[in-house]
């Protein structure tokens, strides 16, 4: 069984990331499931960068616990990462750059990467490719996959460049033959045969948006969401859509609302600081009942925070941001594959209920790559908004008609007899401002909340469950922690604990029925999340009379399965097995 974690570290801007990406794609093309994790410096050039890829012949749920193979281009990389290398793991380092002290229990292969690149290839920068050749030779990663990828990557730059890079690979392979192999890592070809794609969370999300019929994307550059815009700028015009880079995030979401009002599916993506600017427009979307999809790829806050690091700190603003009684839907994406289908569901809910949908991702999910089965665009049938029928149009058309469902017929510019003003002022059924009519405001608020409460049924359908169905220890997580939770639950079950987890995809409205079932059976419920105060736990406490046990991590990095497993053990040791359990749903 192959399950190997490779990590490459070195100076930012010197090809560490592209080494990691090429290794990732090669492993994927060789038939392995892959799961990457990257942290990168805030500096564009310089600073420390690293790229980690885990490759396995089984389903991967997390970035892995320890490093099997560390490639250190410089001493800083060695110092930062050597403690993460498992006992019996491998260190490959550039012996032209530094000499590490002797380390116990770690297999060390010095490779003169810089001189091999300068002397045997003639280009210093090809050390990033030479090292891939070394990895291919040492660990039996199929050479032809590396070669094919290098060709795909560099053909655009001409045959001479391709040949130089292939030569660099061969130099690495040749050098590997001179190494006396002391480890037992041997990859060979992986088992996966199905046609798969290698996508980051952000790319998967962008593809899902296209599959939903996205026609206009408006956005402003912000880490770690920018690559959604760049991806769509290239791909969206191919299907007749367009990306506009606006002057700020207020303009981005304003453009989205204008386009949606006129009948196009539109979206914006941002991160915390930009999302903060969008809050007033979120209210306009609620009030005027214009569908909108707003993605927040979370990073560490508050303020500018740590832009290149991960956190789940925007749940409060997503749920509560805005003034007045302002119902919006908040969803959270949990895996690279889920980014595709999740954003499709977000568009469906926005369209069906004429509401804004805030979709939370984060840096960890947005920037990691994984192998995913080619998406099936028919898995989530595309839903469109309820347009006014010919009978409803004409004089006295009631755009905001009151009724049992809350959703009222919408007309689009270009439709005869559907004239109305989409109003940010409180308005009557026609859309005329009614800013002094007190009972009308109550009726209209109820209309908007009727839609919101109807979404709770969907919310209950979109919950993933892992482990035991009626567990003693429950776990409720959200967003990108899903894989880690799943892995930790399995570890705990293997050790004999009675554990089960719920992972809702819609966080607001909460899937109360599904959660109530788990909470009713469990003696204790852990809520792991990557923020300081326990934002989701707080949201749950508002609805359930239970003292949820928080597990919080606020260092800008994701959980490891071990951290959660340790918490499960701790809770299991202290749980009162005889305590009667009932839960109450608060209004």
């Amino acid at each position: 069984m192959a399950d190997c974690v490779f990590r490459v570290g070195g100076e930012g801007g010197e090809g560490v990331i592209s080494t990691g990406e090429l290794l990732t794609l090669t492993l994927a093309r060789s038939g392995y499931e892959i799961y990457t994790f990257r942290t990168y410096p805030a500096e564009i050039k310089g600073g420390h960068a690293n790229y980690q890829v885990r490759a396995s012949d089984k389903l991967l749920l997390s970035q892995g616990a320890a490093v099997d193979v560390l490639v250190a281009f410089n001493e800083e990389a060695y110092q930062k990462h050597i403690e993460d290398v498992r006992s019996g793991g491998v260190l490959i380092y550039d012996s032209d750059s530094f000499t590490p002290p002797a380390s116990d229990g770690i297999i060390v292969y010095p490779v003169p990467l810089t001189s091999l690149a300068t002397e045997k290839v003639g280009i210093k920068l090809t050390k990033n490719i030479v090292v891939l050749g070394v990895l291919s030779g040492l660990f039996d990663i199929p050479f032809e996959k590396f070669e094919g990828l290098v060709r795909d990557r560099f053909t655009r730059k001409g045959e001479a460049v391709v040949l130089k890079n292939v030569q660099a690979l061969k130099v690495g392979v040749e050098f590997a033959k001179s190494i006396e192999k002391k480890d037992s890592i041997r990859m060979g070809a992986g088992p996966r045969q199905v046609k798969e794609l290698v996508l980051s969370g952000n790319e998967s999300l962008a593809l899902g948006a296209i599959a939903s019929g996205l026609k206009l994307y408006a956005g402003y550059p912000i880490t770690p969401a920018t690559d959604i815009m760049e991806f769509l700028a290239k791909e969206l015009p191919k299907v007749g859509g367009f990306v506009v880079q606006t002057e700020d995030e207020i303009s981005a979401v304003g453009t989205v609302l204008g386009a949606s009002f006129a009948g196009s599916k539109a979206m914006t993506a941002t991160s915390g600081p930009g999302f903060s600017l969008m809050i007033e427009m979120l209210g306009l979307s609620v009030m005027s009942e214009i569908p909108a999809v707003i993605v927040d790829v979370q990073r560490v806050g508050p303020s500018t925070g740590m832009p290149t690091k991960t956190e789940q700190g925007d749940l409060y603003i997503a749920v509560y941001g805005g003034h007045g009684s302002c119902p919006r839907v908040v969803m959270a994406l949990s895996s690279v594959e889920d980014c595709f289908y999740g954003i499709m569901r977000a568009f469906n809910i926005a369209e069906e209920f004429q509401t804004p949908v805030v979709v939370l991702s984060d840096q960890y999910l947005g920037h990691r790559k994984a192998t995913v089965p080619k998406p099936d665009i028919n898995k989530v049938p595309v839903i469109s908004r309820r347009l006014a029928s010919p009978e409803e149009l004409g004089n006295g058309f009631k755009r905001y008609k009151l009724g049992a469902e809350g959703v009222s017929p919408m007309s689009l510019p270009g439709m005869e007899g559907g004239y109305y003003t989409a109003e940010g002022l409180e308005h009557d059924e026609i859309g005329y401002p009614a800013a002094s009519n007190h009972t009308n405001h109550l009726r209209m608020t109820e209309k908007r909340y009727t839609k919101f409460h109807a979404i709770e049924a969907i919310s209950n359908d979109l919950v993933r469950q892992y482990g035991n169905e009626a567990p003693e220890i429950g776990i409720i997580g959200w967003g990108s922690t899903e894989g880690v939770i799943r892995e930790a639950v399995q570890m705990a079950i293997d050790k004999g604990y009675n554990v089960g987890a719920l992972h809702p995809k819609i966080l607001y409205p909460l899937p109360l029925a599904r959660m109530g079932k788990l909470i009713n059976s469990a003696k204790a419920v852990i809520v792991p999340e990557l923020n300081y105060t326990g934002q989701f736990a707080t949201l749950l406490r508002k609805r359930f009379a239970l003292d949820f046990i928080q597990l919080n991590k606020t260092i800008g990095l994701p959980f490891t399965p071990k951290e959660l497993f340790d918490k499960i053990e701790e809770v299991a040791a202290n749980v009162n097995h005889n305590a009667p359990r009932t839960y109450a749903t608060r209004v």
């Binding site: 046609k195 794609l197 290698v198 996508l199 790319e203 593809l207 296209i210 599959a211 026609k215 206009l216 408006a218 791909e235 015009p237 191919k238 299907v239 007749g240 859509g241 367009f242 506009v244 606006t246 002057e247 700020d248 207020i250 303009s251 304003g254 453009t255 989205v256 609302l257 204008g258 386009a259 949606s260 009002f261 006129a262 009948g263 196009s264 539109a266 007033e280 427009m281 306009l284 005027s288 080619k374 998406p375 665009i377 007309s411 510019p413 270009g414 439709m415 005869e416 007899g417 559907g418 004239y419 109305y420 003003t421 989409a422 109003e423 940010g424 002022l425 859309g431 005329y432 401002p433």
Partner: protein, 285 residues
């Protein structure tokens, strides 16, 4: 232009059941009346018209015009207008807002809407005061003006909307006056007909908080008949005049619109790749 010409509507027929809430004597009545006239003369079908407005007295305008409307947030007329136009380039889009809405809170959007050259008309109902909040100074209030928020007199200098728009690259820049309905109607017609971003600064006095009905008319002149509107330097000279306030078209040139660019990009992308999601998937295998 997708103007559906039949049936022709009289200016009266562009009115809705919603009655303007403006103070009797407000300049905005004159602007609205000229809008009705212009729409009627251009035979723009209400179904093809979207009026987008910000917050302020002028913000209520969409509700008074038989058309599609979007009454958005304070200062955000232009982003929403752009979204409408990009979603459906066949629509006529008219953005309306006040001087506070446009030049203060929304000032960051004007240069970008102008330089993108979105095909729309942007009418600023400029009364040089915040009327709906009952009389505070605005970006176009004169220095020394005493208002609720400048009880000792305004210590700021007013901005120059015309010079600003010419500098930002708007392709149609004009000034009108609510008290000259015929001329204003002609300007609105030209602005709607202009292919690109058309801006009119419309002096529209606030009878309640800054009554300029007596002081404005003596300062008004026509843009000279021999003025060359394609000459940007001459247009600046008109805009920078301090003795008189010229009414008419200061600047007008033809440039490719934003929508033209969008079309070009889509054609270029589709020429290189089949317009199918499958083809995009293949790039990531």
């Amino acid at each position: 232009m997708s103007t559906t010409t039949l049936p022709e509507l009289t200016p009266q027929e562009y009115k809705t059941d919603e009655h303007p809430i403006w103070c009797p004597g407000c300049g905005d009545f004159g602007v609205l009346s000229s809008m009705y006239q212009a729409l009627s003369k251009l035979r723009i079908h209400p179904k093809d018209l979207v009026v987008v407005s910000g917050i302020g007295c002028s913000g209520r305008t969409p509700g008074f015009v038989k058309s599609y409307g979007f009454h958005v947030l304070h200062g955000r007329v232009l982003p929403v207008s752009m979204g409408v136009k990009l979603a459906n380039p066949k629509l006529h889009v008219i953005g309306v807002g006040g001087d506070g809405d446009g030049f203060a809170i929304g000032g960051g959007h004007i240069p970008h809407a102008a330089r993108r050259n979105i095909d729309m008309a942007y009418l600023v109902f400029d009364n040089a005061i915040y009327g709906l909040t009952k009389g505070q100074y605005s970006p176009t209030s004169p220095t020394a003006h005493v208002t609720g928020s400048t009880p000792y007199g305004n210590i700021e200098r007013p901005l120059n909307p015309l010079a600003m728009l010419i500098a930002y690259g708007a392709t149609f820049v004009a000034r009108g006056y609510s008290g000259k309905p015929k001329e204003l109607t002609d300007l609105i017609i030209k602005a709607i007909e202009h292919k690109g971003f058309a801006f009119i600064d419309i002096i529209s006095p606030c009878i309640t908080f800054y009554n300029t009905y007596k002081v404005i008319p003596p300062t008004l002149i026509e843009v000279p008949a021999d003025h060359d509107p394609t000459n940007r330097v001459k247009a600046f000279e008109l805009a920078l005049r301090e003795d008189k306030v010229p009414l008419g078209v200061y600047y007008q040139v033809q440039q490719p619109t934003f929508e033209d660019g969008v079309d070009r990009v889509i054609k270029q992308a589709q020429a290189a790749s089949p317009p199918r999601l499958d083809a995009i998937f293949a790039e990531f295998a």
